[in-house]
């Protein structure tokens, strides 16, 4: 429970008014190994929700720049007139469509990895009871699959950029091509962050960290990963429909 909900203060067991009345009961896991994982999970999720906000602000500002620039006439040096110089970029949409499906599938596998580890951590206390065995289930490596799909997406984006460049659209060719590279590039950069988080999650799985601890990492990574997929769909739609 969040302390925010506490309306009735608990009974104070502290000292008199003159002494700092501090509640007793120290030694709860400070530096120890028995942290309360549900609190950690809640805090990590909250931190992620807060952390996603500036990412949204970043893309909101880039979007507004994109739309404003699109409608802006510019001075042409030859005719000395204001002209609309916005060149619609032909997106390599076949590659991008393929990439999008890879990312959406990876979002699904990530969700399966998250549900797996949630179930595993819920069962963890049961396993600790002596004499109880839940059997040795083989788990499908959803996390690894997600990682591979994520890297595939990044490689696919690279191919899309190459295709754009082959079509004569470089970063500085025209304002529209600058924005295409900028938006897709910034998304890729943020996705690399997700890939690093996945590698970390995979590494602590191999290192046999406590399942609850892995759950926190995988859970937060999965929400971030879903956000990345949504963000990509948004960027793709923006570039496709507002060009």
């Amino acid at each position: 429970m969040s302390p925010a909900g506490i309306k009735e203060p608990g009974v104070n067991r502290g000292g008199a008014i003159t002494l700092p009345p501090i509640l007793g009961g120290g030694g709860e896991g400070r530096g120890g190994e028995s942290p309360d994982f549900s609190d950690r999970l809640r805090r990590a999720r909250l931190g992620l929700a807060v952390g996603i906000t500036p990412v949204i602000m970043l893309f909101v500002s880039l979007t507004s720049a994109y739309i404003v620039r699109q409608g802006l006439p510019t001075l042409d040096e030859n005719s000395n007139k204001y002209v609309h110089d916005w060149l619609p970029v032909r997106l390599p949409w076949l590659i991008l469509l393929l990439n999008s499906s890879v990312l959406i599938v990876s979002s699904a596998t990530m969700e399966l990895a998250r549900r797996d580890v949630t179930r595993e951590s819920a069962l963890a206390p049961v396993r600790l009871i002596p004499g109880i065995s839940l059997g040795q289930e083989r788990r499908f490596p959803w996390l690894w699959l997600t990682l591979i799909l994520g890297i595939m997406f990044l490689l696919g984006q690279w191919m899309a950029w190459r295709e754009l460049a082959d079509g004569g659209f470089y970063l500085a060719t025209s304002p529209s091509s600058s924005f295409v590279y900028l938006l897709t590039g910034m998304h890729a950069l943020h996705l690399v962050g997700g890939v690093i988080a996945l590698v970390y999650a995979a590494a602590i799985t191999l290192a046999r960290q406590p399942v609850e601890s892995r759950r926190v990492v995988i859970d937060v990574t999965s929400w971030y990963w879903h956000f990345m997929a949504l963000l990509w769909i948004y960027i793709f739609a923006l570039l496709e429909f507002a060009r």
Partner: protein, 577 residues
């Protein structure tokens, strides 16, 4: 109770490096931020000293520096502004005091994400080094002002400082954005998730409210500045044209085409205006805390104070256009921005009214922190009153880019925020270092600083009304401007004295750290949680214990209680509210 304990997963560090350099302890990180800001403020002040010298003796030969050229003057003002806004006004009140006291005031053993907290400080530190490095590269520091308007800032041949120096400047700002975002994330999560039992939102000290709202502003604003900076770097180095239109520099047609300089202004000021509140809100929180404590009265209208902070934060995002009345914007947008800007006067007036209401009829204890808190209110009012002038397009057009603007923002954003920092320093020094600062030196420091800053910045309003423009390096050669020179000379002398007086503060700070009188745990007889714990606080703030809060933050002279203050952790049997 277990809610807070395990956050403090890291044990008390042993080695020097883990304890003082790469520390995870929010208190050490807070001090690191504070001393970074202290270094930065003296660098920034030194730059302003050079500018004040140059303005009245433009051809003076300075030892080691020589004569200050006009372009050097522009570098000085750029770096002065950047250092002061980012590395002092954003760093000290939020990163410094916020880091140190927010967790203690809400009864938490540390920030929610200690590692992120450490990264945030060290990124800020690197950002500062990168910025200072701009002085030492070919071409020197940039000259585009702290607002970095494109296309001046976007072309490397637009001036001597616009080569590598400008790239370093943008890199530094971008790093600072990332660091501030990490800090804001920590502040928000900590405030929402780590409050002690009984610490409801309406029992938070107003300092915590101010830090919390400031963090939200930072979270929403710095991402936008980051994207603006990325576009600028691309324009400068990869040939894109986000900000640069078809432009001829020194008779040479540049390769750029079709960019919009206004785009930079919109993105920059969407960050820049909230940044003003990022600088001043923590000062408001500190002023509220100090006025209540030293008046021995509850803060007048606690809820109104909270709502006013929230309202100022919210409105702060809707007024960025008032920096751009001169940009040729539609009069209808100008009217909308003007109206929104004026409406900020309402929550500001509520705050001022409540501060005065707190002082009204009180048995005031005029200790040095209180002097600075009252000074804060004075400067906030004097600086704030020129705001409505600048908020109206018809008045802003003649006053834009004159000394009137410089006077306005220095009083309200610069000096008022600095008074908040001074007040906080004198108030919390005993808790941070276990000793008291010297009261007499503090009073001398206060009097000279208050009179001195008014003497520097008040005349600027007259200069502005007389039409003297800002950012001009020399007024001595223009017949009309020379008539205003005596006033500039007066301001320079006032600046020399005020800057000199800061050495008193510096001496007092360091002398008191080792030689000051020993402080008790609660020397000011204040009520918030930091005064319930030992001085200085132990590694986990409460020595393995978890405080339980039963009272609001400002219960002074509650009827029916014999003592004149009720600590937040006192038993609930003492009458509440």
């Amino acid at each position: 109770m277990a809610t807070t304990a395990h956050v403090h997963a890291h044990a008390a560090p042993q080695g020097f490096i883990r304890k003082y350099i790469f520390s995870l302890d929010h208190k050490v990180i807070g001090l690191q931020y504070y001393f970074l800001a202290l270094t930065a403020v003296f660098v920034g002040m030194f730059l302003s000293l050079l500018m004040r010298i140059h303005l009245i003796w433009p051809t003076a030969q300075l030892p080691l520096i020589g004569e200050i050229k006009p372009e050097t003057y522009l570098s000085l003002l750029t770096m002065h502004g950047t250092i002061m806004v980012f590395f002092v006004l954003t760093t000290a009140p939020q990163g410094g005091f916020g880091n140190y006291f927010l967790p203690i005031q809400i009864g938490a053993p540390d920030m929610a994400f200690p590692v992120l907290n450490m990264l945030s400080f060290w990124t800020t530190f690197v950002a500062f080094l990168v910025l200072i490095a701009a002085f030492f590269v070919a071409g020197g520091a940039p000259l585009h002002g702290w607002t970095g308007y494109a296309p001046l800032s976007a072309l490397s041949n637009s001036g001597p400082g616009e080569q590598l120096g400008a790239d370093l400047w943008i890199t530094s700002i971008a790093l600072f954005c990332v660091a501030s975002l990490m800090g804001a994330l920590n502040f928000i999560t900590t405030t929402l998730d780590l409050r002690a039992k009984g610490m409801t939102l309406m029992r938070l000290p107003l300092t915590v409210w101010a830090w919390f709202i400031t963090a939200i502003l930072g979270l929403l604003a710095f991402g936008v500045l980051l994207s603006a900076g990325i576009l600028l770097l691309l324009d400068r180095n990869l040939g894109t044209s986000f900000y640069v239109p078809l432009v001829v520099v020194n008779g040479q047609l540049m390769g750029h085409k079709g960019g919009s300089p206004l785009l930079w202004q919109h993105l920059f000021w969407f960050f820049g205006h909230p940044e003003v509140y990022i600088a001043i809100l923590p000062g408001m929180g500190v002023a509220s805390q100090l006025l209540s404590t030293f008046s021995r009265k509850p803060i007048f209208g606690y809820r109104a104070m909270v709502y006013a902070i929230v309202a100022i934060g919210l409105l702060g995002f809707m007024v960025w256009g008032h920096h751009m009345f001169m940009s040729g914007m539609s009069p209808y947008s100008a009217f909308a921005f003007s109206l929104m800007t004026m409406s900020i006067g309402v929550p500001s007036a509520i705050k001022t009214f409540n501060w005065l209401g707190t002082l009204w009829g009180a048995k005031i204890r005029l200790h040095s922190p209180m002097l600075f808190a009252i000074g804060f209110v004075s400067l906030f009012v004097s600086g704030g009153l020129s705001g409505p002038f600048l908020a109206q397009p018809v008045l802003d057009i003649p006053l834009h880019d004159t000394y009137f603007v410089v006077g306005h923002f220095h009083l309200i954003m610069g000096v008022a925020a600095i008074f908040g920092i001074f007040g906080a320093t004198y108030y919390w020094f005993p808790k941070m270092f276990g000793r008291m600062m010297d009261e007499n030196l503090a009073r001398i420091h206060f009097v000279i600083t208050l009179v001195g800053t008014y003497a520097i910045f008040m005349p600027m309003h007259y200069l502005g009304m007389a039409g003297q423009t800002r950012r001009y390096s020399q007024f001595t050669e223009v017949a009309y401007q020379t008539k205003l020179l005596p006033l500039q000379t007066f301001m320079s002398y006032a600046a020399f004295i005020t800057i000199g007086a800061q050495l008193i503060f510096l001496f007092n700070l360091f002398w008191s750290m080792w030689k000051g009188a020993k402080a008790s745990d609660n020397p000011w007889e204040a009520t918030t949680l930091e005064w319930t714990t030992a001085t200085p606080p132990p590694h986990d703030n409460f020595g393995g214990l978890t405080p339980v809060v039963n009272h609001g933050p400002y219960e002074y002279n509650v009827p029916g209680v014999s003592k004149d203050y009720v600590m937040q952790t006192d038993p609930a049997s003492a009458p509440a509210h």
